[in-house]
Symmetry: C2
Subunit: 527 residues, 2 copies
């Protein structure tokens, strides 16, 4: 009897202890969610301030913005990496393994992803994180002016400072790895200079002969209409129709104007686009809009249950670019899409597009030839633009060059890869915004994004999605549904390799991209 009582008492004690532990875990989860909320608020505000700075903010407000953003970034870093936060995430991580108290799949993902963010951020001191935001904020303002004024010299010192900082940060993150590899991996999990070199070799082997073959044919389709004037107001109105055409809900977005088109996801229900309108290059805006809409739809398609958690937003830049470039190229430059596209063009620029037929438009928007500006480049030469930047970045990180060498290197690689002279830095090494924002190791993701796209096409087909039919009808709902299910909804819960595997049933393989380019341009140019 005594024994029985003993057992009962023991069981009661154990039960009570279990209860206490469960309550403790619940409390920790609440704290964790609160931390996520605070981090989210800072990320949201940083984006608002950044978007403001890149679109409508006055020039003389730059210093105040840099100050506020620096403070905000510092607070974000401190919140994420404080001893208390680290201990909190660790204690929860212990509950996610077998026998632990946490089995909610979303929460498991949140703890894993925030834990990784934390480990990566922890190696960088808060003051450095804050100073970094100020530096890139300032550099961005300087770059804007430098680009307009074709003045590399004014921007040059910032590039050296940024590269030095990035190398230092990479060494803190992983002292055993090559710093440039650390950054490649930051933008695309698993990417390294070695794997990207292999990718480049494969792509070059396909693209370079094609570009030569097209060049040797000596004749490009006539397409004067591409540079006919379409007034700004008409292009603005056209932009909204294009956003609707690809499927972006206008209540979820804003169209702003800036130097270099970009998109930014702010929150569930809020992902914005900024474009640049040239009156004599309407097609430039058309594809900027479609491209940025792809980014925005990805951000808007994330599982709403992830709102205000660390799982909100896109998982990697490679996947992000795959979404934007899927709409821009796979859909937007397909033969089938020319019908719906032409309808919009004719609605807003009838005097220019009234007489253009679908075949002519298709050939015009797919003219493949060496050009100066990456964002305007055709699908075929595009990866070569990426390689120019990649070569330079590797040299900077390897200490084989400094910022003052960049203009000459740029011109040299543009000649090597694309065979064209660069008239000025504005259309050369000052054209992109990325370096001013500290995004080194980012460009490769553009080429990878396109390569992912080439794998999505057969995967969609396998899943019964009629991509060509959707493009031809202008109703892209089935395409969005597939991307939504396979990619968008997962937010940051899955890394790129896992997403690709899940969507395509296999690991990444560059051959799909090579054969897509080979097929498309051989047919187009009757090679």
């Amino acid at each position: 009897m005594g024994k029985k009582l003993d057992k009962k008492a023991q069981a009661a004690v154990a039960k009570a202890a279990k209860g206490v532990k469960a309550a403790k875990v619940d409390k920790a989860v609440k704290k964790f969610r609160k931390l996520e909320g605070k981090l989210w608020t800072r990320e949201y505000l940083l984006k608002i301030a950044e978007f403001d700075g890149a679109t409508i903010a006055p020039a003389n407000g730059a210093a105040a913005r840099a100050d506020a953003m620096g403070t905000l970034a510092g607070e974000h870093h401190k919140l994420l990496t404080s001893e208390k936060s680290v201990e909190l995430v660790r204690s929860l991580a212990r509950e996610t393994v077998a026998g632990g108290k946490i089995d909610d799949p979303q929460l498991l993902d949140e703890i894993r992803v925030l834990g990784r963010d934390q480990r990566e951020a922890s190696v960088i001191p808060t003051e450095e994180a804050e100073a970094w935001t100020r530096l890139t904020c300032e550099a961005d303002a300087v770059w804007h002016k430098a680009k307009t004024a074709n003045d590399w010299a004014s921007f040059e010192p910032y590039v050296d400072r940024i590269v030095a900082q990035l190398k230092h940060q990479a060494e803190l993150m992983d002292p055993k790895r090559d710093p440039y590899d650390v950054w490649l991996d930051q933008y695309e999990r698993g990417l390294s200079a070695k794997s990207f070199d292999a990718f480049c070799d494969e792509v070059k082997a396909t693209v370079v002969p094609l570009v030569h073959a097209i060049g040797e044919r000596g004749q490009q389709p006539a397409a004067d209409f591409l540079h006919a004037r379409v007034p700004e107001a008409a292009q603005r109105a056209m932009s909204f129709d294009l956003m609707k055409l690809v499927g972006l809900n206008l209540n979820d977005t804003t169209l702003a104007f800036t130097e270099h088109p970009f998109s930014e996801g702010f929150a569930v229900g809020d992902a914005r686009i900024a474009t640049h309108i040239y009156e004599n290059d309407c097609i430039s805006n058309v594809y900027s809009i479609i491209h940025e809409a792809g980014h925005a739809m990805y951000e808007l398609g994330v599982n709403p249950a992830y709102a205000r958690t660390c799982l909100e937003g896109g998982t990697s830049m490679g996947i992000h670019e795959s979404q934007s470039r899927f709409f821009e190229n796979t859909v937007g430059r397909s033969r089938a899409f020319m019908g719906p596209l032409l309808e919009v063009l004719r609605r807003h620029a009838p005097e220019v597009y009234g007489d253009v037929d679908e075949d002519t438009l298709y050939r015009a928007v797919n003219i493949a030839q060496p050009s100066l500006i990456r964002t305007e480049a055709d699908e075929l030469t595009y990866p070569l633009h990426v390689m120019v930047r990649y070569e330079i970045e590797r040299m900077l990180f390897a200490g084989e060059a400094t910022a003052k060498d960049i203009p000459a290197l740029w011109n040299r690689f543009m000649n090597e890869y694309l065979g064209i002279p660069v008239p000025d830095d504005t259309r050369g090494c000052l054209q992109d915004t990325h370096w001013s924002g500290g995004s080194f190791g980012y460009f490769p993701t553009y080429a990878l994004g396109s390569a992912y796209d080439a794998m999505f096409v057969p995967a969609m087909c396998r899943d019964g999605v009629d991509l060509t039919g959707a493009c031809a009808s202008g109703d892209l709902a089935p395409v969005r549904a597939w991307l939504g299910e396979r990619i968008w909804q997962w937010g940051r819960a899955k890394d790129a390799p896992e997403l690709i595997k899940g969507a395509c049933g296999m690991a990444f393989d560059a051959r799909y991209y090579c054969s897509y380019l080979q097929d498309k341009f051989t047919t187009l140019y009757e090679l």
Copy 2:
């Protein structure tokens, strides 16, 4: 000898103690400035988010924005009112009195102003401050839709909740005072219902007979051109020229578009304007721009040494409105300014203004007659619009009415004060944004602002500023210099009564306003 040593030792100890104390004060001052910086960052970001919400943010982003702003406001409140902060400011305040260690005049002002902010904020719990920001943020989004849809019912519950909250907050701030008085005093130090009643009586006694006399004359100047179509693009370009004309540096500002024109000062070098363009009412935009430019120039004219401290920004809404309305009316609707103004109008709308002469324009922009929309009202009837809102606000705070009574009350008072029927709530009680933002007790400051302006005119004259000459030449530099010296530079370092005394050499006196209106409209209408 022993005594001497003793004294020396004592002196040394005292000196050392003094040194220790001075170092302690220095440390506290550093902490104080850091606190100011943190508060400033949150104010700046709240403004960015608010401006974004009112101009370009997509509809579906409202919830996320409310969330972020609520968190931010909560943090601001917590930072300002934490025990640590209160003790810090108190300890510094002890050093500002006679015999204290602090004598830097700016720092004395900072400690005084932040101390008052702190005392006023401390009575409201942080959760309440946070909930308040969320409520007004949400109410603002609802009001935008309600105004467009002429749907008072959807907005109504927010008004009741906001008034209840404001009464509660006022009771916490000063349980002995009437809650509405507490809010009047918040927007304009020293203002009370009693003093504003007296002001209203005085103004009514001048304005009502004038309005009647004008009405009885039965004839208004012909001014069809006021409603001729001026395309949006031309009005946009005109807006920038008007901003330049009144003296706003375009590198310090941005022009955005919104439902209800407003301006917001973000920082030294960054004060923005948002306007609303109606193609068939170009003059509406002209005076919105000039009005908002006045606000912006005030914010931009604050002593740059006050940047990122609690002294940045305008001191009160009455003074703020005095600046906007000085440019809008005293300058912008003066006979002398018609020359420079007409030049801008002709530049951007030659087909409309080519044949209009200065006298005709002067009479047209000064047509005094009862109308529906406050922001479009002429100088003479304007204060009556304020009184309509004031009467309703008093009744709400006195518990004599609730939100559901507002449409009927609005129509009744519009009839009593202005003698015109109100066709719908969109042009009635839904027209202003203020209530959705929780700004009750604010409207009186508009009328006070105009009344201050009437005192500035003789004060400028006394100081040798040729106001008429400046208006006629279109070079307003001497006017800006006077306002800059007397008003703008002081930021929040001086309260309204002190500024008025300093600028005009006397306390506020409504008679200047009455005689200004009397003179202007008697002459204009040959009464």
